[in-house]
């Protein structure tokens, strides 16, 4: 009963009655961009887990309540929290997951993302790969909490971030 009591206190009874965060139908995004900058320069930027607001235009600010956890404030929206799963400086890969969702801020109930860098002739290829679940994992989601809405939000977040990072790093040359 304590669980329900805390939900009521938090005012979350106003949210639609959702199934648990991890529904049965994952979606994927697979976005790539080539940045004309050395691998190390790109890695230095993206691997700084607490510094995403420095290059991602949709992130207003970041707080790090503890090691490996970051609270993103999305511009004009609110907060979601991510936690770091893996950081591999040799392979230039990192992965993290959504730790605390708020579907009114970002219409995805759970995601895991991996970012991978690879040296290519033109500089560095950056990949942003995500596996995620729509906001309402029941069988009758409203449109704004549907698979389509989740895919749009995830790919927009990835591509906006990568384009901005590209501009920033290529401008520095």
């Amino acid at each position: 009963m304590k669980y329900w009591a805390s939900l009521l206190l938090a005012g979350q009874f106003l949210l639609p009655n959702l199934a648990v965060a991890h529904g049965p139908t994952p979606q994927k995004i697979d976005e790539q961009i080539v940045i004309a900058a050395p691998l190390d320069a790109v890695w230095q930027q993206v691997s700084e887990f607490g510094a995403i607001a420095d290059w991602h235009p949709l992130v207003a600010k970041v707080e790090l309540p503890e090691q490996g956890t970051r609270v993103l404030t999305l511009k004009g929206k609110g907060n979601i929290t991510e936690s770091l799963d893996d950081m591999n400086a040799d392979e230039h890969t990192m992965s993290y997951r959504l730790y605390e969702e708020d579907i009114t801020v970002f219409p995805v109930s759970f995601y895991s993302v991996s970012i991978e860098l690879e040296q290519v002739e033109a500089g560095t290829e950056m990949s942003w790969k995500g596996r995620f679940y729509r906001a309402d994992t029941g069988n009758f989601p409203p449109e704004h909490y549907s698979d389509d809405a989740a895919v749009v939000a995830m790919s927009e977040f990835a591509s906006t971030g990568m384009k901005a990072l590209k501009q920033q790093l290529e401008g520095q040359k």
Binding site: T25, D86, E91, T93, R131
Partner: protein, 316 residues
């Protein structure tokens, strides 16, 4: 997570001494289809359009049919495994997810209903749900021990394994596992049950007699699937976050190998002769073939979009 060069694919497939042509039955949730791969020729021999978002699969070799769950639609497709045509549909409601066939000869199919926290018992002849049994929260994978007449169900959100009788509505145990148990398998001799706990990155090992937890084995990142070999030699765990298959000795529980597979592996199963393991790679759209004598990936076959195949997906 870096893509490795797929030089395996350039080698011609040579499987010495393989007698039975087994097949892989793959669910492609993103494109509403099921495909069948002949594992001797590596050819895709069928691609079948089905209802939306198929996930779980179970094969009834004796009955020459297989079942595919559609959690988004509250139904199960029944497909002829020779002609690859649809035989019928089982309407379950809820969100049918993991599925398993009773191979004892008794005509029963067991289905985990993710949304309604239940195990559904289906009569495959009448295609009707004949029993609904309460289990833990958000049941995902399940395993049936045909000989010892037990059903094991992994309840992802209540962090437990429910043990039910396969013939009566009796429940024997509700075992606390590590966090977020998703897949479960039972060794061929019935003596050990292995449960993959996604959020704890571990395998909970449970005694098949008294249902006590006997060990917790560290796995890779997000272990999504577990299988054992029919010779009681190996336990195999597919780790979705670390893109690998970990191999344990089933008796000593010692880790023997970490084998890199494709991206975001989803499900692992083993050939009937215990010589090969197969892993569906959900993100990279391929099927890894692992030789269990050398514990090496010998091939990676391209398949249709987003293969999942929750359940036992290899059969002759």
């Amino acid at each position: 997570m870096q893509l490795k060069p797929l030089y395996f694919c350039l080698l011609p497939l040579f499987v010495p001494g393989a007698v039975v042509a087994e097949r892989a039955f793959l669910t492609h949730q993103a494109v509403d289809s099921v495909s069948v791969v002949d594992l001797q020729t590596s050819e895709r021999i069928a691609e079948i359009g089905v209802a939306a978002a198929p996930v779980g699969v179970a094969i009834d070799s004796a009955g020459k049919r297989f079942y595919v769950t559609h959690p988004e639609k509250g139904l199960i497709s029944v497909i002829d495994s020779e002609s690859y045509t649809k035989i019928g549909e089982i309407r379950t409601g809820g969100q049918p997810f993991g599925i398993a066939v009773d191979h004892s000869g008794k005509r029963q199919v067991f289905v985990a209903d993710w949304e309604r926290n239940a195990l559904l018992v289906v009569n495959p002849e009448s295609m009707l749900v004949v029993d609904v049994l309460a289990v833990g929260e958000n049941p995902a994978g399940l395993a049936v021990d045909d000989k010892r007449r037990r059903i094991y169900i992994a309840n992802r959100e209540s962090h437990t394994l429910t043990v039910l009788d396969a013939d009566t509505p009796d429940q024997y145990a509700d075992v606390k596992t590590a966090k977020a148990p998703y897949a479960v398998t039972v060794s061929e001799d019935g003596r050990q049950i292995f449960v993959a706990a996604i959020e704890d990155n571990s395998l909970t090992v449970i005694d098949g007699e008294d249902y006590s937890v006997t060990a917790t084995l560290k796995c890779g990142d997000k272990p999504y699937s577990v299988a054992t070999t029919p010779d009681n030699k190996y336990v195999l765990v597919a780790n979705q976050g670390s893109n690998d298959l970990w191999v344990f000795d089933l008796n000593t529980l010692e880790k023997l190998a970490e084998i890199t597979v494709g991206e975001m592996p989803e499900s692992v199963d083993v050939s009937a002769d215990g010589r090969f393991a197969y892993v569906t790679n959900w993100f990279s759209n391929d099927l890894s073939v692992i030789a269990l004598d050398s514990l090496k990936e010998i091939q990676r076959l391209s398949v249709a979009e987003s293969p999942r195949s929750l359940g036992r997906f290899i059969a002759d």
